[in-house]
Structure formats: structure tokens, C-alpha cells
Amino acid sequence: MSKRRMFLKMITASLLRRKSRMLTALLSVAVGATILAGLVTVYVDVPRQMAASFRSYGANMLLMPGENTVLNQQSVDAALSLISEEKLQGASPYRYVYTEFMGNQTGEGKYSSQLRFMTAGTSFENVQKTSPYFAVEGRYPEAQREALVGKNAASTIGAKLGGSVRIAYDRTELVEIEETQTELQGSAPGYYDAEVSVTVILNSDGTIKTVAMDLSRQTPFRVAGMTTSSFTDTYGIAHAESFTDQFTGKQLPLTLSTSENDPDEYIDAVSGATASSKAVVDAVNAALPVGTQTDTQQITNTERAAMSFTVSGILETGGEEEDYIYISLRDMEAITNEKDRFDVVELSVAGSSEELNALANEISENTGLECRLVKRVTKSEASVLGKLQALVFLVTLVVLVLTMISVSTTMTAVVSERRKEIGLRKALGASDNSIRAEFLGEGLFLGLLGGAIGALLGYVFALVVSRQVFGSDLQFNFALVPATIIVSMLVSALSCLIPVKRAVAIDPALVLKGE
């Protein structure tokens, strides 16, 4: 038999044949290891569990249109494909528009009141996933033309559950209008008969758009009729906006005003430059068409659409959502006459804030959409998570220390119980190192056994905690088994240091005294 086998034989015999002692020590190690493994399992699993729990506080990620990318079904699908299925807890598209609430009809096209409200089109099925905190009195809209009205909005407009609200939306449309403009040119003699020439652009309705004037032959002195110091511009009246701006919008022919009582259609002369002013007006009146030019203009067309909705539910959230009216996406498309367009998609995604950050960046880069985290949610999540983990860590530490104390006490008891045996071993020639090795060996063996038991019981413990606290199962973490065993062995070995020191100090001579 080799020395090592004898060593193992002695250690195992010591533990297996002295059952009660061993069980006490094993129990303390196993209990410690159980709590340790359980807490670590919970510790490791907490972020996942908490992420799921936190989802009930609303979406933590937002998708918005990018600079060059619109938010529609296609771009949203592209973004969602980047999120793994198990992590995505929900996605709700929203389309927000300003609408007017129309009060009771008092006559043909007449209503008792008109109030502006934000109306949101969304998918109620998804909203229930991303915003589980929505408290709905009544029920979510199911059929067409049903609305969920925020509590504030409802009280403002006096909407009742089961009642009806009429919402009006101004469909606006940008229309491009092409206009043909006529260019005219003319001239007339001005001050000292020096020629003044003008270029006039006429709108298609005959009104003047602009008048450009060339007064280069009129000296500043002559033009202004005043000192050059107060009229620094060389071509005085041509650049005096109060004069040039008068032309826009007026109809030909023009009349130069000579008195303060003249009507508004007249062109006021620049005082002190009446001759030049008159020359400009004459030139404009004498101007003849020289050509046409086309100008494109954008005009907003507004068309009002109104729809009645049955109030299927009143929404209470304690937040701004209470000011909104929610309708289905389909109804929204009908009222706005716009298809496949969202303003924001709220996402509920499980993960640590680092993971979410990385994911948001990935989505932003790959889809061109703007993907942002709802900091209010992710930050508080990270903070609570941090605190919880710190707490679990602390408890784990305390348990480790308690386990050490417990094992140490047991081993100390074992040493004093076995004083005679240790003395005998020393008398038989055991070196201090042999004694150390034997007791540490027993400690490590206890750690091994207790750790293995603890790893399994710890999982059960964690499972119970998980079910009780988070209401969900957790996966068995195989890596935790060797980790628990190693930690248990380390703790046991550390716990044995003091008892071993005592064991080494035992005097072998005690076996000789015939006590």
C-alpha cells in the first residue's frame, strides 16, 4: 500500500467511521455551501430575473426615424431582427397626431366645444406587453372605431365609458404649384434726364413680385437730394428697402404719391429724391414684357376628417399617457389617410444596461433608425440591480464567514476530542507536517463532500427563492458545481488553520502519562 493510499484511508476512515462528528462538520460545510451556491445562483441569475421584472415598468428602448430612414414596418422589422427572440419582450408602434375633439353637435357642422388632443395610434396587443402598468378601466379597444381615452382627456372632454368621442384631424398635404411669371423691362428719364431702368417680375395674377432698378446714372447727391454722409449707399433709393419693398403685391399701373393723404396703393416717393422716385414709377409703368419664367411654390392643403369612436376603456397611468386618446393603428391610418408610418416604436428588451447600449448602437448603425434607451428605466434598473447584487454579495460574504466560524469550531472540537490520538501519532513519529496534512486533508475532504451536497441543495434553494421572489424558474448552472466545491474546500481549509495549529502544538508525552 502506498503512503498516499494510507493517507487517504486514514482521512476517509476518520470521517466515515466517526459518523456523528463528521456529520456535524459536514453539516456546517454543506449548509454554508448550500447558501453560498444558492445565493450565487440567484446573484448570477438576478439580472435576468430583474430584467423581466423591470419590463413591467415600461419600455426601455425606443426606435425613432433616422435622418434618412423612415419608421415603417420594413425598417422596424429590420431592427427587430437584430434582437434575439428570447430577449425581446414586446414592441409597440406608435403614431402620434394632434386632433381636435368635437363636442356635442349643436347644429349642422357646429359643435359645443373644440379641444386639441394628442391621439396615438398603436397596437393594443403589443401595448399590453410593453406597458403592463397601464391600468385600463373597461377594456382595451378590440373592434374598429374603439378608443382608449386617457383619464385626464376623458374628464376634460367628459367622455364616459361606453360613450362616444368624435375626433377631427386636419389632413395636410403639401401641394407644389407652378407659376409662370412675366419679366418686363422699362426705362424713363430721371433727375437731369439721366436714364433710370427697371426690371419688373409680374406674378401670373398681374401683381408685382419684384422690381429691380438701375439708378447708376443718378448721382448719390442728385438721387438723395441730401448730403452723401447721411446716404452712404451710392444708389440711394434703389437700396432703400422702404422704397423698393412698396412695389411687391401692387397692380400696374402705379401712381406716385405726392401727398400724405394719398391712398395706400400709391408709391411713396423718397423725400428729397422725388425726381428719381418718379422716374422709377414711370419706368415701371412703361415697362414692356421681355420674357417669362417658371417658379415652383409649395402650398399646404388642409382637409379635415372626423371620426366617432366608442370609448371602450379609460386609461390610468399616473403619467402623460392620461392626456392622450389611443386608437388602433388601422383607425389611425383611416383618419390620417397615411399608411405604414410610425413616429416611435417602444421596445421592451431584457438585458443589462451594457448589453442594451451595445444593442441600441448596433440597431442604429445597421438600420439607419435612431435607437435610444429610455434612461429613466435603464438607469434605475441598473441602480436597483447594483444594490441587489451588492446585498447578495454581502450576505454571501457573511455566510462564508459564518461557515468558516462554524467549521473552525467543529474542527477545534475535533482536535480536542482527538488530543490523545494526535499525541499518539506524534509519539509514533508523525512530523508536524504530517499532522497538518492529515487535518487539512480531512478539512478538504469535508469541503469536497459538503461542497458537492451544497451545490445541489443550493440549486434547490435558489429555485425556491427564484420561484418565491421572481415567480420564475432558473437554469441549473453547471459551472457553479466545481466553483462551489472549490470555495467550500478553500473555506474548510482556512477554517482548519487554527485547529491545525492547536493539533501541532499537542505534546506527544501526554500519551505516556497513565491518565
Binding site: K420, A427, L428, D432, L512, E515
Partner: protein, 224 residues
């Protein structure tokens, strides 16, 4: 050269002189008994011979080595290599079987060898009981296991502390017979006892009183 030479050894505990200028020589193969009432210095003598204590003054040579000056670690080695110990209270490792108890001694000395350990048990007539735990053995049987354990590493000296103190007469005789057998084989035996019968079994009796050698009796009727 003598196996054991004790020269003017004193051991003083505070005011108490446990041993007072004791000298004693033991030859190889000799069987001696150290006797005396309690407090006579027997135990102290035994501790010093057994390399578990050191004298305050004087010199002790065991097999030519000065065990009165060696360090604790060296003393452990000398004890392991030269001395086989037998105790009044047997002192077996309670959770190991008889043969395993013998092997513990081999383990600290050199290599555990089960067949050799069984042979040693056979010598003390306990081969059949080799797999029994101490709790399953009688006192006499336990002491025989201890004799086997003391022999297993072929020590220069067997040091027995009241080996029959806890035994009935029948078992005492068995143990004494074993000693006689060992003596015949040339083993040096030092037996510390207060039992005259055990003392008289030896070749020579050293009687201690108040830490001094009071008398030395050679057993004329000793038969090898």
C-alpha cells in the same frame, strides 16, 4: 557501545527535582524494569528516554546519539527510527482497524505494508482479529496490537509504560510472554512499572525514589 547511556541527568520543574543526578546504562538486548512509587520520577525518566522531553542537565546517549541536546524535529525522527512505544492505555486510533493501527506506525516510519503488518499481528496471536476496530477488541487484545505496532519498524528499543496496568492477570501473562519472546530475539526492553510481578520478569530492576536511583536489583533467577 551501550544502547542507552544516562549520565548525571537531572530534570527540574521549578522547585521540584523530578530527576536528581541519575545515571544508568542499558546494554543492547537487555531487559530492564524501572520501578518506583508515583512521584519517583519514572514518568520523567520515560519521557526523556522516549525523546519526548529533555533533561535540565546531564547527557543522554541513545545508540550513540545525544538526545539531551537535539531539536524537537530531530527527536521525533530518532523516536520514530529507534523506539517502539507501548502504553498503559494502549492508545489505538479508534476509527482504524487493528491492522490499520499497525500500519499507521509504518506510515510515519517508512511505507505501509499490509502483509508485514498482518505478520506482526500473527506474532501476537491476533491475525484473526486484524480487521476489527479497537472497540471490538478486549483490553488484552488491544495491548497485543500495540505490541505488534511497537515491533513493526524493528526498533532498537522497546519502551513500555505500565504495559499491564490495565490488564487482567491472564492478559498480563500473555504480554509478559510476548516480552520474553522479544527478549530472546535480542530486542532491548525498558519497562516502566510499579507492578513487582512485571518488574521481576525483567533481568534488572532500577528502583527510583524521589528522583534518585534508590536501588538496582539484578534478577538472579531470570531465565531467557
Amino acid at each position: 557501545m551501550s544502547l542507552l547511556e544516562i549520565k548525571h541527568v537531572s530534570k527540574i520543574y521549578g522547585e521540584l527535582k523530578a530527576l536528581d543526578d541519575v545515571s544508568l546504562t542499558v546494554e543492547k538486548g537487555e531487559w530492564i524494569a524501572i520501578m518506583g512509587p508515583s512521584g519517583s520520577g519514572k514518568s520523567t525518566m520515560m519521557n526523556i528516554i522516549g525523546c519526548m522531553d529533555k533533561p535540565t542537565s546531564g547527557q543522554v546517549l541513545l545508540d550513540g546519539m545525544d538526545i539531551s541536546r537535539e531539536s524537537g524535529k530531530k527527536l521525533t525522527e530518532i523516536r520514530r527510527d529507534k523506539i517502539g512505544l507501548i502504553f498503559q492505555q494502549f492508545h489505538m486510533v479508534s476509527y482504524l482497524t487493528a491492522v490499520e493501527n499497525v500500519m499507521v506506525s509504518q506510515y510515519y516510519h517508512s511505507m505501509p505494508d499490509e502483509s508485514e503488518a498482518l505478520e506482526a499481528l500473527d506474532r501476537v496471536g491476533l491475525k484473526q482479529r486484524a480487521r476489527h476496530l479497537p472497540s471490538q477488541l478486549s483490553g488484552g487484545e488491544q495491548q497485543r496490537v500495540c505490541v505488534a505496532r511497537a515491533l513493526i519498524n524493528h526498533p532498537e528499543l522497546i519502551l513500555a509504560d505500565e504495559p499491564t496496568g490495565n490488564l487482567d492477570e491472564a492478559n498480563e501473562n500473555i504480554v509478559l510472554d510476548l516480552f520474553r519472546q522479544l527478549h530472546r530475539e535480542g530486542t532491548t526492553l525498558i519497562v516502566v512499572t510499579h507492578d513487582p510481578e512485571v518488574g521481576e520478569a525483567a533481568q534488572r530492576m532500577i528502583v527510583l525514589e524521589h528522583g534518585r536511583v534508590a536501588k538496582e536489583v539484578v534478577n538472579e533467577s531470570f531465565q531467557a
